[in-house]
Amino acid sequence: MAFAVEAYFRLLVRVTRACLSRPFYRGDLVQQMDTIGVASIFIVMLTGLFTGMVLALQAAVEMERFGATVYIGRLVGASTIRELGPVLTALIVTGRAGAGMAAALGAMRVTEQVDALRTMGVDPIRKLVVPRFLAALVMLPVVTIIGDAVAILGGLLIAVLMLDFTAQLYINSVWETLAQTGFVLTVIPIDLIQGLGKPFAFGGIIALTSCFHGLRAEGGTEGVGRATTRAVVTSSILILAMDYFLTQILLTMFPS
């Protein structure tokens, strides 16, 4: 266990170093951005839509009692952008792309393709891990933005169709709650720092964990299955734990 943690951090160091020096495989980066980000968009949008709708519905039930349904936009906006958007998106991408990464690298490992790369003088970290790592760092915030947008739209649907809100009122209250937390550098809402910083970190976790377990796969096809399970479970847990610590850190940095 302690050995695995050490190896994990050693991988992080190697990947970071490899990111900063040549050779760099640009084609693989774009391809990974496609498989990690673009391919996950549909499912992320679906998740976002239903999350936003259910948030609005729950908020309506609860706030009706205080006659505070005007706060629905605020509740959907704030909880989506700060928490649910980043975390749910990361978990979905873990299940979809993280599992794929671990399985692909695991299969390459047990069929000696990783060794083949090394015999051809190619560093597997650069060729396999770095593109996935960078792609996840970039694409997680990107798909989270899209997921958030769909979630807020989902809330809007409920607010307009079931609660007789005007779209304008709803959307304005979403913007209001973001404006209220304050700004950094005068124009960037602090909530957006939180809402984009988290998926950035989660992207790193997903790629690193999945590659880590994939490259350690051992024992044929069964080993690949085990590596995939491990990758998904470990990154899910790390994401949830990291979410807590990041929230704590951001609250300390930007007290509201």
């Binding site: 692909a104 069929t111 000696e112 060794d115 083949a116 015999t119 051809m120 003088g121 190619v122």
Partner: protein
């Protein structure tokens, strides 16, 4: 050799002249080498290696000279693949030396190790083709990684080696490895291993899992490699008949040690009980 000076050659005595001379001598040696005085190109000297508490190699020494084919025989799990991994510097020995072209590879730096690996081509047991790339990209991979050749030249080289391994380039180039039979995959793997023209070729059980006819074809291909490309070949196998066809030297590995080494004829003639038993 040195008397022959082609047109437009550099002035005798200049640095460029000497470099060219050295190149030419090397080419000559590669073409006509194979004499008994040849230094060993790949050599293991008293190599020890263990995984955890499991001692896999306990003092292995072997070698093969330029133009030779060494077959390392042994049961499964004795450490045959491990020996190849040591030669490729995918593993480092606990003790002893691994020499490639006379240099101890455990002592070289990382970039030098990369350069050394370019001197070798490896055909893995399961072929280890990259399954996300088609045949062309697989075979061209080492060229894109290590040479500055243009697209056209690379295509020519890929088609040339595919023809060498008796595959029809036009047919197989766009296929993915999953669409190939085991024998074809092995041929593509061989093509990938020789495309950057390494002087040393390593094979890990090239014929295991193949039918007898395909096995023969692959054996003939290995013979053809030595005959036509004059490379030094190390083959790991448990197939004695195959070894008898292709080897110039054999070595039998058991319990972490080389218990027999000699020519295939010597192996055939030996009285050693285990060797005879292994020979079947």
């Amino acid at each position: 050799m040195s008397g022959r000076t082609p047109d437009g050659a550099p002035e005798p005595g200049s640095e460029a002249f000497e470099a060219e001379l050295r190149d030419e001598i090397r080419r000559e040696l590669e073409t006509h080498g194979g004499g008994s005085a040849q230094p060993e190109i790949v050599e293991l000297r008293d190599v020890w290696l263990s995984f955890g508490t499991h001692e896999v190699l306990r003092g292995v020494s072997l070698g093969v000279a330029r133009g030779g084919t060494l077959c390392i025989l042994g049961g499964s799990g004795v450490g045959k693949s491990t020996i190849l991994r040591l030669m490729l510097r995918l593993l480092l020995p606990d003790r002893g030396e691994v020499l490639i072209e006379g240099r101890d590879i455990s002592a070289v730096s990382r970039p030098e190790a990369l350069a050394l690996r370019e001197r070798m081509g490896m055909v893995f047991q399961g072929s280890a083709l990259f399954d996300s790339l088609n045949v062309f990209d697989n075979v061209a991979f080492p060229l894109y990684e290590h040479t500055k050749l243009a697209d056209g030249e690379i295509r020519d080289r890929v088609e040339e080696v595919l023809s060498f391994v008796d595959l029809d380039p036009a047919m197989v180039l766009p296929l993915l490895p999953s669409a190939l039979s085991g024998g074809m995959r092995k041929r593509v793997a061989i093509a990938r291993a020789i495309v950057h023209r390494p002087p040393i070729l390593l094979f890990d059980e090239p014929t295991s899992g193949l039918d007898p006819i395909t096995t023969r074809r692959i054996d003939e291909l290995i013979l053809k490699l030595r005959r036509e490309l004059h490379v030094c070949v190390v083959v790991v196998t448990h197939d004695v008949r195959s070894a008898a066809r292709i080897a110039t030297e054999t070595a039998l590995l058991k319990d972490g040690k080389i218990i027999f080494s000699g020519t295939p004829e010597e192996m055939h003639a030996t009285e050693d009980r285990y060797v005879r038993a292994f020979r079947g």
